[in-house]
Symmetry: C2
Subunit: 433 residues, 2 copies
């Protein structure tokens, strides 16, 4: 069985939904369908989920909320008409409106986009509608309750026909509707895939997979054909907006591959996220970065004798509302990359650190961006890193720090802030050689 | 004023001493002379200090010790005859013999080589003999007592003529003779330089300065013309047998440069150790390594939230008598370089770590050597590192880890153990390009 999940952009309009349905029907194995709420049809449009949240907010604030709800109603009524499905959508919307008026929870309200969309599309597909409330369980803090896997396995594991499960929500420990974080439909897809022990979890989006770098910075970035779960995590740690950890964990544990595909270009292979891969052809999968950080250089004679010191400084910085992203050791010194997205008084911070910790000296150095080069091939093709650094040198980009080996998948560089975009471009060009 | 210190090899024979004296007399500023005990005249010879230690050992063990002492006596008598100096060396030796027979301390006995040698050479030079017992003070644990600087400043700071101070010893808090660690004459030289506020501390040896790498591994290694105190420390941390920290600290604090010179080739510039240098001409000063280490790869999901973890593992390893030389962080993992010069049961160690700490997983990887590339120019000439790594790649040497930035002076690489010597050769060849 394959699990196919479609995101909001893939389901924004009747035309988009028809594309998705065509994809689903092209493969009989695509039995389990997980759907988001309708997204934006164009740049001026508002996502259904945002409209639902606004309705709840207005109701709670004692403001007029029905006009907002009417927009939602109009959109779903239009959708069911365009798709010509036989669903009493008006009655469903009435029930929701009554509950909003009665003061129901935000979680219930914001989950209705997925609910209604799945109801309509299940009918259009001629598939069974399975309310996520009956098969997905969340913990009190909004995380996946592993009980969900058993519920899904029992109820859907041996399904012979197609079924549609709304994403984003389930039932909390109190029996009420509870939602995951935004984008939680990816999590639902992973839970269903794990529950039915799917052969693959197809995640249909509006891009042809995970790209080698942020395409807004590197337009030449290409789709990554194969990547491991661990590499995705490292890319995300380096700042890439890739698949969310919570949406990977359920399938990773069961070694089910995730295939990121493009609804608008279904023939593209997309990206296959899997337990292992051969790193020979593509040693490095991608590059990603975050910024800005200030380098805090601290000195401690015979640092090796004070293993607790970097932790002490982190603690002191936390007390000053500063976050440390990464730290590196030397023999008599070490460096910490301090998040500098908001301003701070560096003299006061250094004074505080000198008071609170045992460092001999400390000072802030330059402002940098951190860029990660991610790929299992760094380990096997050890000349890669030298070529990457040489390419940066030829582009007159200076390396402020480099760390490779703490993770065998990622080389993390610090470069001058103003070199950020160029660094990503040069590295991707090097990857594509 | 210049302080000149000569090591044992430079003073092993009358011929060598004449070379040293010629050097001293060639420059009127070379007023303060610090001397070691006579070293080996050839490979079969024994250092005077070793003979003295043996005498004391034999006496303490109740064995015959006078034959050993007679060898010492013969050597000093011969030396004073060859140099034709008017010193009652026989009387001095008689006093020492009596004290040994009476059961004096090891510190007193082992210090007599420097004492007698300085007495003879002071006479030969026509210089004043200043017993270190009167100007050098040691703490109870054998370290420099800063009171020494004041004593020397008062007694010798305004000296108009030449004077000779024996190295290696001084007076402890109990008023008795106390020695520094072996090679302590370098420390005495530094103390005297600090005390008289010397313009330079010339340290005369049998090599023309600090070399770019261990010449036993890299015969092509050349002398480093200029190096900073900090770079010397980093080279030493990476395993180089360079100037001892305790012999640098006194002059470093006073910003007095150290000039390492060759008694057998006095025209060579040698190496100047100084507070700062321009890194433009020679960005990297040298390379050095240590081995063997096993890489311990440990995993911890969201490591950044557990700053105490690397310290915990170090502690656990210490309890198992294992030392961690260096550690590097990743995002969900980290690596520790564990000294593997003695064998250990890696499964038992991993089991112990899993029990005692919060790591998710740990395993030992390959056996490596650590090689440091040291130089202030790594910071300004940021392309260097890429070229070094490329050169290693071309020599088919794989990089297991690299860390640069925790120290701005050193890039520390881990390479396969069998690549150790070749790595040093390739890097030095690259430095000399």
């Amino acid at each position: 069985m394959k699990v196919v999940k479609f995101g909001g952009t893939s389901l924004a309009s009747a035309a988009q939904i028809k594309k998705a349905v065509e994809i689903i029907q092209a493969d009989d194995q695509r039995q389990a369908v997980v759907l988001s709420a309708p997204g934006k049809r164009d740049n001026q449009d508002t996502k259904i989920t945002d409209l639902l949240i606004n309705t709840h907010k207005q109701k709670t604030a004692g403001e007029e909320y029905l006009p907002t709800f009417e927009k939602i109603r109009a959109r779903f009524v239009e959708l069911s008409e365009l798709l010509e499905v036989d669903v009493n959508i008006a009655a469903e919307l009435d029930v929701i409106e009554q509950k909003i008026t009665a003061g129901t929870t935000l979680d219930f309200v914001e989950s209705r986009g997925e609910y209604l969309n799945s109801l309509i599309i299940a009918k259009y597909l001629g598939a069974e509608f399975v309310d996520a409330a009956n098969v997905v369980r969340l913990t009190i803090d909004g995380r996946v309750d592993p009980e969900s896997y058993e519920l899904i396995s029992k109820q859907l594991g041996n399904a012979t026909g197609r079924f549609v499960v709304p994403g984003f929500y389930g039932t909390g420990p109190d029996g009420e509707i509870k939602t995951f974080s935004r984008g939680g439909s990816d999590i639902t897809g992973a839970i269903v895939a794990r529950g039915v022990n799917a052969d693959v979890y197809e995640n249909w989006t509006d891009v042809s997979g995970i790209l080698q770098a942020d395409p807004r910075i590197v337009p030449a970035a290409q789709s990554i054909p194969e990547i491991t779960y661990a590499e995705v995590r490292e890319l995300a740690s380096c700042g890439a907006s890739v698949f969310h950890e919570e949406a990977i964990a359920p399938v990773r544990d069961a070694k089910i591959p995730i295939n990121i595909k493009n609804t608008n270009s279904p023939a593209d292979c997309g990206t296959m996220i899997q337990p292992t891969r051969s790193a020979e052809k593509m040693p490095v999968v991608g590059v990603s970065g975050k910024k800005p950080y200030r380098i805090l250089n601290a000195e401690k004679f015979m640092l090796n004798r004070y293993p607790e010191l970097p932790g002490q400084i982190k603690e002191a910085l936390t007390q000053q509302d500063l976050a440390v992203e990464f730290d590196m050791k030397g023999f008599d010194s070490f460096a910490l990359m301090v998040d500098s997205s908001s301003n701070f008084d560096e003299n006061a911070i250094c004074k505080y650190i000198l008071e609170k910790t045992e460092v001999d000296a400390c000072s802030f150095g330059m402002t940098v961006a951190l860029v990660g080069i991610v790929g299992a091939g760094l380990q096997s093709q050890t000349g890669l890193l030298g070529r990457m650094l040489s390419a940066l040198d030829q582009a007159e980009i200076g390396i402020r720090s480099i760390s490779y080996g703490g993770s065998q998948l990622t080389a993390l560089l610090a470069i001058n802030l103003e070199d950020y975009e160029n660094t990503l471009k040069v590295l991707v060009a090097q990857l594509q050689k």
